[in-house]
């Protein structure tokens, strides 16, 4: 007698546990609660006249009108673009350079490469506010300022690092380059360790010069990592406000008030939650557009 096998019926618990949905649920909940919801809330608040000190508000386009009509709007964008562009270019260039030097040092068994790596990394580990205070002491224009003391020894007058609007932006950008170079170095150094030694060796045997090896082999192979580096460093610099707050507070005038610092000032100094949220949406748009551009470039490169 043959017994027909009953079609196996899975209980609902088996269905649920067998599906990836259950395992993804905690992550989805956390992402929605800490990422999606705040973004939606910021966008909603940007269309209100909400303040930090009261619970009453109404929906309006006034926050965007005031933001775009502010006499400092284009100054803020200009300062941000200069700060980000110069920071990103130099952080990537110097990070790449230091990574190459440290790698060459390590290959030659030089202990100094470990010291250099550690020293550069320490800049990355220091909180932004502390970096702002350190550079503030270095830049001081009075007799106590370290850099101006050194300049004074050479017989020149003091340099207005923080009291001249143009010099202040340059000083803040320089401090940010110092701070961010370490991160670029780490990424590039990690990338260099993954380069195929046989390809580099073959190029050397074929008579390629060091410059040719760098431009024809190392850079193309490192391109994906450099692109990731570019995305992270750009977004990170756009979001920087802690170091600038400690170093200049946005001054003199508003010459160093970058977008992220402006958001902080509008919400926590002037209590304009609506206008601060509108500025945050602007920053979100800038970051989104830049990420899309980078991703497209990456796709074209892969294709």
């Amino acid at each position: 007698m043959t017994v027909k096998a009953k079609p196996s019926r899975r209980s609902w618990t088996e269905v649920v546990t067998g599906s990836p949905l259950l395992w993804l649920l905690p992550l989805v909940v956390i992402l929605v609660a800490t990422f999606v919801y705040p973004i939606i809330e910021i966008i909603r608040l940007s269309f209100t006249d909400a303040g930090l000190t009261g619970s009453d508000y109404s929906y309006t386009l006034g926050s965007y009108r005031r933001l775009l009509g502010s006499p400092y709007f284009f100054d803020m964008l200009k300062a941000t673009v200069i700060f980000v562009a110069v920071s990103v270019v130099f952080q990537m260039f110097l990070g790449f350079l230091i990574a190459l030097v440290v790698d060459q040092g390590a290959r030659r068994g030089m202990r100094a490469s470990v010291v250099t790596r550690t020293a550069v990394l320490s800049a990355w580990a220091i909180p932004g506010v502390i970096i702002g205070i350190i550079w503030g002491i270095l830049y001081q224009e009075s007799a106590g300022g370290v850099l101006n003391y050194l300049v004074g020894l050479t017989g020149f007058g003091s340099i207005p690092f923080l009291s001249d609007p143009a010099a202040a932006l340059a000083s803040v950008t320089f401090a940010n380059i110092w701070r961010g170079t370490a991160f670029s170095m780490i990424l590039v150094y990690a990338g260099i360790q993954t380069l195929p030694a046989d390809v580099l060796e073959a190029a050397r045997v074929d008579g390629a010069s060091a410059f040719q090896r760098l431009t024809r082999i190392v850079l193309p192979l490192l391109a994906p990592i450099l692109l990731i580096n570019l995305v992270i460093v750009s977004i990170d610099t756009f979001n920087t406000f802690d170091m600038v707050l400690a170093l200049t507070g946005g001054g003199p005038g508003r010459s160093t008030e970058v977008v992220a610092l402006s958001i902080y000032n509008q919400i926590f100094q002037q209590f304009h939650l609506g206008q601060g949220a509108a500025t945050a949406v602007l920053l979100l748009l800038i970051n989104t557009v830049m990420t899309i551009i980078y991703l497209r470039l990456d796709r074209e490169e892969v294709a």
Partner: protein, 436 residues
């Protein structure tokens, strides 16, 4: 599949989950109820900014006084004090407190910046019934004005401060009274190789409270109108503000003030220059006396430095800015209100409490009789500060527009000093920012 293999049934799972949830809720409720209080009896919530608190304070002298005084009061009361934390960013702390007060979540006793206190009138309870021997008339006029609304005492101010001109009395025989005097004295000091005149001009509140408003108020200027809207750009107010900017510009252009003053965000940032022996005059606060005595040595400081009213355009009708802190009571329960005032009188507001707290913190008492209490430690400068508090002191306006006004004017002073904008241009931009 035999059911025996299931270690936990669905019902068991639900029971276990329900029990866990209930347990967690109970724990949460217990945690909220405790609130950090150390006694099982009734407690009074007390929220102070970090430098005035027992929990977040970095000054051992203040903590020692507070712990002793609070413990002594708790010994004589059925209530205990339940300290609550606050932000160290004063502006953010006040914004947060306003939000809490509007939602009826403020601590029973909360510390409020005196100039902003009128914005809390709707949330605090009158204290007249509990004051005892403390009378509002004992307070300096500017403090009394902030504490009283519609004839009722709404809060108790317990510290104050005042801004003055510090000058090298070993180099300058008569301190400058007018702007012209200051420029000519400054030029003489420059010839002697001294930095003539410093003041805070960074992106912070001190730039307006210390380096701008005293000039403006001395000309009769008003920052806001009766409805609380910005009025510094209209009529005589505009003229007074433009004169003040012109004077700051003149200080920089004549070389009396270096552009690097934009690096000074707070009055105490000038301490290094003041103690270096190379500065002739600076604008600062009374609290710098104690700090500079520590840095320079008390004898050297008192021999070198004198204080005078902040120079005015005319040389008379001086003005200065005062501040300080007020305690507000946010609890409806009358018994707790009485106990709260009793606590404040013992630790901060009564003769002994105010004298001792002002001693440990280096503050000035806002109640005039406290200056004569034996426990209050006076120094060579105290009587002068008291005179200025009585005659020249102004409070910042409490209107909602003040934060915008302050930020716009800080930026304007910055721009004038750094040479980024001419005085008129800086004023017009500030007006546009505030009215935008």
């Amino acid at each position: 599949m035999p059911t025996g293999e299931r270690s936990v049934s669905r019902r068991d799972f639900l029971k276990l989950g329900g029990a866990s949830l209930a347990g967690a809720t109970l724990l949460g409720v217990a945690g909220c109820g405790g609130g950090g209080g150390q006694s099982s009896g009734p407690s009074i919530g007390w929220q102070a900014i970090p430098s005035y608190s027992t929990e977040q304070n970095t000054d051992p002298g203040r903590v020692e006084y507070l712990k002793k005084a609070i413990s002594k009061w708790e010994g004589s009361s059925k209530y205990s004090i339940n300290a609550r934390a606050s932000s160290s960013d004063v502006t953010a702390a006040m914004a947060q407190l306003l939000q809490q007060a509007s939602q009826k979540r403020a601590a029973d006793i909360s510390q409020v910046d005196s100039y902003i206190f009128p914005r809390f009138y709707d949330y605090v309870y009158p204290l007249d019934d509990y004051l005892g021997d403390i009378s509002p008339d004992q307070y300096f006029p500017f403090a009394k004005e902030a504490m009283i609304n519609n004839g009722k005492v709404m809060g108790l101010q317990f510290t104050t401060d005042v801004r003055v001109l510090y000058y090298r009395k070993d180099k300058i025989s008569t301190p400058p009274a007018s702007w012209d005097d200051l420029i000519s004295t400054g030029k003489k000091m420059k010839q002697q190789g001294l930095t003539p005149y410093l003041f805070p001009a960074g992106r912070d509140e001190a730039t307006v409270t210390t380096s701008l408003f005293p000039y403006f108020w001395a000309q009769g200027g008003e920052l806001v109108d009766g409805s609380g809207k910005a009025a510094f750009g209209e009529g005589k107010n505009r003229e007074a503000m433009l004169n003040s900017f012109d004077f700051i510009d003149r200080c920089v252009k004549t070389g009396v003030t270096p552009k690097r003053v934009t690096e000074f965000s707070q009055e105490t940032d000038i301490n290094g220059d003041a103690s270096s022996g190379k500065t002739a005059m600076f604008l600062g606060g009374n609290w710098q006396v104690g700090l500079l005595k520590q840095i320079m040595g008390a004898d050297k400081f008192t021999k070198q430095w004198g204080v005078a009213p902040i120079p005015s355009m005319s040389g008379s009708d001086h003005a200065t800015t005062s501040g300080g802190w007020v305690w507000g009571i946010f609890i409806k329960d009358k018994k707790k209100q009485k106990a709260a005032v009793d606590f404040l009188k013992a630790v901060f507001v009564g003769d002994q409490g105010m004298a001792q707290w002002c001693n440990v913190g280096g503050y000035l008492p806002p109640r005039k009789p406290v200056f004569d209490v034996s426990a209050y430690k006076k120094d060579e400068y105290t009587d002068t500060f008291r005179k200025y508090l009585n005659e020249y002191a102004h409070n910042r306006p409490a209107s909602k527009s003040y934060q915008d006004i302050s930020t716009a004017l800080q930026v304007a002073v910055n721009q004038v000093v750094s040479g980024d904008k001419a005085p008129k241009q800086a004023l017009d931009t500030a007006l546009k920012t505030v009215s935008g």
